[in-house]
Protein backbone atom coordinates (compact mmCIF):
# COMPACT_ATOMS: atom_id res chain seq x y z
CA UNK A 1 0.00 0.00 0.00
CA UNK A 2 1.52 3.23 -1.15
CA UNK A 3 1.62 6.58 0.60
CA UNK A 4 1.11 9.56 -1.65
CA UNK A 5 1.83 13.09 -0.51
CA UNK A 6 -1.03 15.50 -1.12
CA UNK A 7 0.45 19.01 -1.41
CA UNK A 8 -2.19 20.25 1.01
CA UNK A 9 -2.88 17.33 3.37
CA UNK A 10 0.48 15.54 3.47
CA UNK A 11 1.06 11.78 3.19
CA UNK A 12 -2.07 9.68 2.85
CA UNK A 13 -3.08 6.15 1.92
CA UNK A 14 -3.13 5.58 -1.84
CA UNK A 15 -6.81 4.62 -1.66
CA UNK A 16 -7.62 8.29 -1.06
CA UNK A 17 -6.26 9.21 -4.50
CA UNK A 18 -7.70 9.17 -7.99
CA UNK A 19 -5.48 8.93 -11.05
CA UNK A 20 -6.48 11.58 -13.58
CA UNK A 21 -3.99 11.09 -16.37
CA UNK A 22 -0.48 11.65 -17.56
CA UNK A 23 0.78 15.17 -17.16
CA UNK A 24 1.54 17.39 -20.09
CA UNK A 25 -1.68 17.16 -22.03
CA UNK A 26 -3.42 20.41 -22.86
CA UNK A 27 -6.99 20.50 -24.07
CA UNK A 28 -6.94 21.73 -27.68
CA UNK A 29 -8.74 25.02 -28.23
CA UNK A 30 -11.98 23.67 -29.63
CA UNK A 31 -13.03 27.13 -30.80
CA UNK A 32 -10.42 26.67 -33.50
CA UNK A 33 -10.33 23.77 -35.97
CA UNK A 34 -8.83 20.67 -34.34
CA UNK A 35 -7.76 17.82 -36.59
CA UNK A 36 -9.06 14.31 -35.95
CA UNK A 37 -5.50 13.23 -35.27
CA UNK A 38 -4.90 15.97 -32.69
CA UNK A 39 -8.16 15.26 -30.92
CA UNK A 40 -7.54 11.51 -30.92
CA UNK A 41 -4.05 12.11 -29.52
CA UNK A 42 -5.52 14.28 -26.76
CA UNK A 43 -8.08 11.63 -25.89
CA UNK A 44 -6.18 8.42 -26.25
CA UNK A 45 -2.40 8.72 -26.63
CA UNK A 46 -0.53 7.59 -23.54
CA UNK A 47 3.23 7.57 -23.05
CA UNK A 48 3.02 4.75 -20.52
CA UNK A 49 6.67 5.18 -19.65
CA UNK A 50 8.65 2.63 -17.71
CA UNK A 51 10.51 4.40 -14.95
CA UNK A 52 10.07 8.09 -14.23
CA UNK A 53 6.56 9.34 -14.98
CA UNK A 54 4.75 12.65 -14.51
CA UNK A 55 1.09 12.32 -13.72
CA UNK A 56 -1.92 14.28 -12.53
CA UNK A 57 -3.74 12.96 -9.47
CA UNK A 58 -6.63 14.10 -7.34
CA UNK A 59 -6.68 13.70 -3.57
CA UNK A 60 -10.33 12.82 -3.09
CA UNK A 61 -10.89 13.97 0.52
CA UNK A 62 -9.71 17.51 -0.26
CA UNK A 63 -10.23 17.34 -4.05
CA UNK A 64 -6.75 18.74 -4.65
CA UNK A 65 -5.61 18.27 -8.23
CA UNK A 66 -1.81 18.10 -8.35
CA UNK A 67 1.15 16.80 -10.26
CA UNK A 68 3.11 13.81 -9.05
CA UNK A 69 6.41 12.44 -10.28
CA UNK A 70 6.84 8.76 -9.63
CA UNK A 71 8.90 5.80 -10.69
CA UNK A 72 6.57 3.27 -12.26
CA UNK A 73 9.02 0.44 -11.61
CA UNK A 74 10.08 1.00 -8.01
CA UNK A 75 6.84 2.80 -7.02
CA UNK A 76 9.01 5.47 -5.42
CA UNK A 77 7.39 8.91 -5.23
CA UNK A 78 9.88 11.46 -6.51
CA UNK A 79 7.94 14.63 -5.81
CA UNK A 80 4.72 16.55 -6.15
CA UNK A 81 3.74 19.86 -7.68
CA UNK A 82 0.88 21.94 -6.34
CA UNK A 83 -1.05 23.65 -9.12
CA UNK A 84 -2.58 26.20 -6.78
CA UNK A 85 -1.40 28.94 -4.48
CA UNK A 86 -4.57 29.48 -2.42
CA UNK A 87 -4.30 28.54 1.25
CA UNK A 88 -0.51 28.37 1.05
Amino acid sequence: MQLFPCPFCGARDEREFHFMGEAGKTRPDTQQPVSDADWAAYLYDQRNDKGRVREVWMHLPCREVFGMQRDSVTMQVLGTTAFRKAGA
Binding site: L3, C6, F8, C9, G10, A11, R12, D13, R15, E16, L60, P61, C62, R63, E64, R84, A86, G87, A88
Partner: protein, 167 residues
Protein backbone atom coordinates in the same frame (compact mmCIF):
# COMPACT_ATOMS: atom_id res chain seq x y z
CA UNK B 1 -36.21 -6.49 -8.77
CA UNK B 2 -35.70 -8.18 -5.45
CA UNK B 3 -36.67 -7.40 -1.94
CA UNK B 4 -33.36 -7.29 -0.06
CA UNK B 5 -34.77 -5.42 2.91
CA UNK B 6 -34.01 -8.25 5.31
CA UNK B 7 -30.34 -8.25 4.38
CA UNK B 8 -29.91 -4.77 5.74
CA UNK B 9 -30.38 -3.87 9.40
CA UNK B 10 -32.99 -1.27 10.16
CA UNK B 11 -31.52 2.06 11.31
CA UNK B 12 -29.97 1.83 14.80
CA UNK B 13 -31.20 3.38 17.99
CA UNK B 14 -28.72 6.22 18.35
CA UNK B 15 -29.84 7.05 21.88
CA UNK B 16 -27.77 4.10 23.12
CA UNK B 17 -24.03 4.80 23.03
CA UNK B 18 -21.61 2.02 22.15
CA UNK B 19 -19.25 1.03 24.92
CA UNK B 20 -16.11 -1.07 24.64
CA UNK B 21 -12.86 -1.61 26.47
CA UNK B 22 -11.58 1.90 27.14
CA UNK B 23 -13.72 3.56 24.48
CA UNK B 24 -17.22 4.89 24.10
CA UNK B 25 -19.01 6.11 20.99
CA UNK B 26 -22.13 8.25 20.79
CA UNK B 27 -23.94 10.18 18.11
CA UNK B 28 -23.87 13.97 18.56
CA UNK B 29 -26.02 16.51 16.80
CA UNK B 30 -24.42 19.86 15.96
CA UNK B 31 -26.88 22.73 15.55
CA UNK B 32 -25.34 23.95 12.35
CA UNK B 33 -22.73 22.90 9.80
CA UNK B 34 -21.82 25.31 7.02
CA UNK B 35 -19.38 25.00 4.12
CA UNK B 36 -17.47 28.23 3.46
CA UNK B 37 -15.22 28.43 0.41
CA UNK B 38 -12.98 31.26 -0.73
CA UNK B 39 -9.37 31.55 -1.91
CA UNK B 40 -8.43 33.27 1.36
CA UNK B 41 -10.75 31.43 3.72
CA UNK B 42 -7.95 29.79 5.70
CA UNK B 43 -6.32 33.17 6.23
CA UNK B 44 -9.56 34.66 7.57
CA UNK B 45 -11.05 31.81 9.59
CA UNK B 46 -9.03 29.84 12.11
CA UNK B 47 -9.65 26.24 11.18
CA UNK B 48 -8.42 23.04 12.80
CA UNK B 49 -6.44 20.32 11.08
CA UNK B 50 -5.02 17.07 12.43
CA UNK B 51 -4.14 16.40 15.22
CA UNK B 52 -5.00 19.76 16.76
CA UNK B 53 -7.57 19.82 19.51
CA UNK B 54 -10.62 21.95 18.74
CA UNK B 55 -11.73 24.03 21.71
CA UNK B 56 -14.86 26.09 22.04
CA UNK B 57 -18.44 25.44 21.12
CA UNK B 58 -18.21 27.12 17.76
CA UNK B 59 -15.32 26.11 15.54
CA UNK B 60 -14.16 25.61 11.99
CA UNK B 61 -12.46 22.62 10.37
CA UNK B 62 -9.98 22.91 7.55
CA UNK B 63 -11.17 20.75 4.66
CA UNK B 64 -9.29 22.06 1.62
CA UNK B 65 -6.94 24.88 0.78
CA UNK B 66 -9.99 27.01 0.06
CA UNK B 67 -12.71 25.50 2.22
CA UNK B 68 -13.72 25.15 5.86
CA UNK B 69 -16.63 23.53 7.62
CA UNK B 70 -17.98 25.83 10.27
CA UNK B 71 -19.65 23.96 13.12
CA UNK B 72 -22.19 25.71 15.32
CA UNK B 73 -21.24 29.14 14.02
CA UNK B 74 -23.64 32.01 13.43
CA UNK B 75 -26.36 31.77 10.77
CA UNK B 76 -25.03 32.83 7.37
CA UNK B 77 -26.59 33.82 4.07
CA UNK B 78 -26.12 31.13 1.48
CA UNK B 79 -24.67 31.56 -1.97
CA UNK B 80 -21.86 33.73 -3.31
CA UNK B 81 -21.58 37.11 -1.63
CA UNK B 82 -18.69 38.48 -3.64
CA UNK B 83 -16.13 37.14 -1.20
CA UNK B 84 -17.08 33.61 -0.25
CA UNK B 85 -19.42 30.77 -1.17
CA UNK B 86 -21.63 29.53 1.66
CA UNK B 87 -23.80 26.43 1.79
CA UNK B 88 -25.56 25.01 4.80
CA UNK B 89 -24.92 21.26 5.18
CA UNK B 90 -26.11 20.67 8.74
CA UNK B 91 -27.94 17.48 7.84
CA UNK B 92 -25.44 16.30 5.25
CA UNK B 93 -23.05 14.85 7.83
CA UNK B 94 -23.72 12.50 10.71
CA UNK B 95 -21.39 13.14 13.64
CA UNK B 96 -20.11 10.43 15.96
CA UNK B 97 -17.97 11.19 18.98
CA UNK B 98 -15.64 8.58 20.39
CA UNK B 99 -13.72 9.03 23.58
CA UNK B 100 -11.63 7.23 26.13
CA UNK B 101 -8.06 5.99 26.51
CA UNK B 102 -8.56 3.55 23.59
CA UNK B 103 -10.26 6.05 21.29
CA UNK B 104 -7.13 6.67 19.22
CA UNK B 105 -6.54 2.91 18.98
CA UNK B 106 -10.06 2.53 17.60
CA UNK B 107 -9.43 5.28 15.05
CA UNK B 108 -6.20 3.58 13.99
CA UNK B 109 -8.16 0.54 12.95
CA UNK B 110 -9.69 2.70 10.26
CA UNK B 111 -6.63 4.16 8.59
CA UNK B 112 -2.94 4.94 9.04
CA UNK B 113 -3.09 7.63 11.63
CA UNK B 114 -0.53 9.10 13.94
CA UNK B 115 -0.42 12.07 16.24
CA UNK B 116 3.07 12.73 14.93
CA UNK B 117 1.89 13.01 11.32
CA UNK B 118 -0.02 16.28 11.13
CA UNK B 119 -2.32 17.17 8.27
CA UNK B 120 -3.75 20.49 7.22
CA UNK B 121 -7.06 18.83 6.43
CA UNK B 122 -9.41 16.88 8.66
CA UNK B 123 -10.84 15.15 5.59
CA UNK B 124 -9.72 11.58 5.05
CA UNK B 125 -10.97 8.07 4.52
CA UNK B 126 -11.44 5.79 7.51
CA UNK B 127 -12.82 2.27 7.40
CA UNK B 128 -13.27 2.93 3.68
CA UNK B 129 -15.70 5.78 4.36
CA UNK B 130 -15.17 9.51 3.81
CA UNK B 131 -14.86 11.31 7.14
CA UNK B 132 -13.72 14.51 8.80
CA UNK B 133 -11.67 13.48 11.83
CA UNK B 134 -10.47 15.81 14.58
CA UNK B 135 -10.03 16.01 18.32
CA UNK B 136 -12.60 17.94 20.29
CA UNK B 137 -12.10 19.61 23.68
CA UNK B 138 -9.72 16.98 25.08
CA UNK B 139 -6.83 14.91 23.80
CA UNK B 140 -8.71 11.61 23.83
CA UNK B 141 -12.03 12.71 22.43
CA UNK B 142 -12.50 12.46 18.68
CA UNK B 143 -15.27 13.51 16.36
CA UNK B 144 -16.05 11.93 13.03
CA UNK B 145 -18.33 13.56 10.47
CA UNK B 146 -19.40 11.24 7.68
CA UNK B 147 -21.94 11.71 4.89
CA UNK B 148 -25.31 11.13 6.53
CA UNK B 149 -26.17 8.15 4.33
CA UNK B 150 -23.07 6.38 5.67
CA UNK B 151 -23.75 7.21 9.33
CA UNK B 152 -25.20 3.79 9.95
CA UNK B 153 -22.31 2.00 8.25
CA UNK B 154 -19.78 3.95 10.32
CA UNK B 155 -21.70 3.21 13.51
CA UNK B 156 -21.82 -0.52 12.77
CA UNK B 157 -18.16 -0.52 11.75
CA UNK B 158 -17.12 1.11 15.03
CA UNK B 159 -19.20 -1.43 16.94
CA UNK B 160 -17.57 -4.31 15.05
CA UNK B 161 -14.07 -3.04 15.76
CA UNK B 162 -14.85 -2.37 19.39
CA UNK B 163 -15.79 -6.04 19.74
CA UNK B 164 -12.29 -6.92 18.50
CA UNK B 165 -10.54 -4.64 20.97
CA UNK B 166 -10.00 -7.27 23.60
CA UNK B 167 -6.54 -8.19 24.84
Amino acid sequence: MRDDGRKWDAPPEYSQPLTGAGVRAARVWPQRQVLISAPDVLARIEAAGWPGVVRGDSYALSLRRDRVLEVDGPPRDEGWDGRQAVTEVTDAYAVIQIEGPQALALCRRGTELSLSHPSRSVARQMFGLPVFLYRWQTEDRFRLHTPRGYGQALWQTLAAHMRQMRP
